[in-house]
Symmetry: C2
Subunit: 180 residues, 2 copies
């Protein structure tokens, strides 16, 4: 199995700088464009990543590591960020995400997780037993999935601008029906 | 129509730093993973972006701006990078891409394109007449599409690691049949 904690943390550590390079200071046209009604803009995605830092990954890892009798995770609110970040600037969200991520990785590193601990289980409210290893792998894939989403949403702002190139740019027709 | 040259150049200017933040120094596991046979790894994608700087966007813009009798573009070799970059390190490709992109944006800026020039046409070998504006919009969407691809390919390296979370991470099942 390819999971490695160090390689996972390396990717997680890169996300704030990657998002900064892509988004800090961009025009609202790029920051606030979406794929259609009820889909996320890049601004929304950064807010959603902040929610993950505060309510998902580390809190769930703690539930697992506590080894208590009830290891059921809190359901994750995918729209918490909407109210929370109303009126804020993207730059403020990027800074907040970077700060939270740094602190969370410091904490994760301080746990010095063993292979046995990575196999400890928690209970997902929808699909049941999951291991800490699966939770941490999901954190990585979730970051990358949302980076792909931001790039896709930005690309789609130019869908009508590329003219006959549309069939050569699959990113413009990915997720025509929102998948997440 | 939403095309703006300044906002387009802003996105194009960000790509080298974004790719650096995401990829410089990553393990081969992330740099060389693919989505299956005959698909691109992140290393391949950076090579493909370099090919675009050398053979696609600016050369095609020049053909259009020359206003000659033959404005047909050279076909674009999507696999030029394979031989060209054999044995090289990802870090060397990232540096080369950044250098080429900086020079190309300097050149593009120096042209001080007018709205009339953006409407000049060239001839794409597959689908015929296209405007300079469409070419430049495609350059932007192409960058973002390949950034999305890199993130997706990296995420898929953990597809078997996330366990029951697969249906919650659409990035893991996007492009199961390669689309580009």
């Amino acid at each position: 199995m390819p999971f490695r904690l160090d390689l996972s943390m390396d990717v997680l550590r890169r996300s704030p700088a990657t998002l900064d390079a892509l988004l800090r200071g961009v025009d609202q046209f790029w920051a606030r464009g979406t794929e259609g009604p009820d889909t996320f803009s890049p601004f929304d995605v950064v807010g959603h990543l902040i929610d993950g830092e505060e309510t998902d990954w580390i809190p769930r890892a703690r539930i697992i590591l506590t080894r208590g009798p009830d290891r059921r995770f809190e359901p994750y609110d995918r729209f918490r960020h909407r109210k929370r970040n109303a009126g804020r600037a993207l730059e403020s969200l990027l800074a907040e995400f970077a700060k939270l991520r740094t602190a969370n990785l410091e904490l994760l590193g301080s746990w010095k997780l063993t292979d046995a601990e990575l196999e400890l289980q928690g209970e997902h409210p929808a699909f049941g037993q999951v291991t800490l290893r699966q939770l941490l792998a999901t954190w990585v894939a979730h970051d990358l999935g949302h980076l792909a989403q931001i790039a896709r949403v930005m690309a789609k702002q130019y869908r009508s601008e590329v003219g006959p190139w549309v069939p050569y740019l699959p990113v413009l027709t990915d997720h025509e029906t929102p998948r997440s």
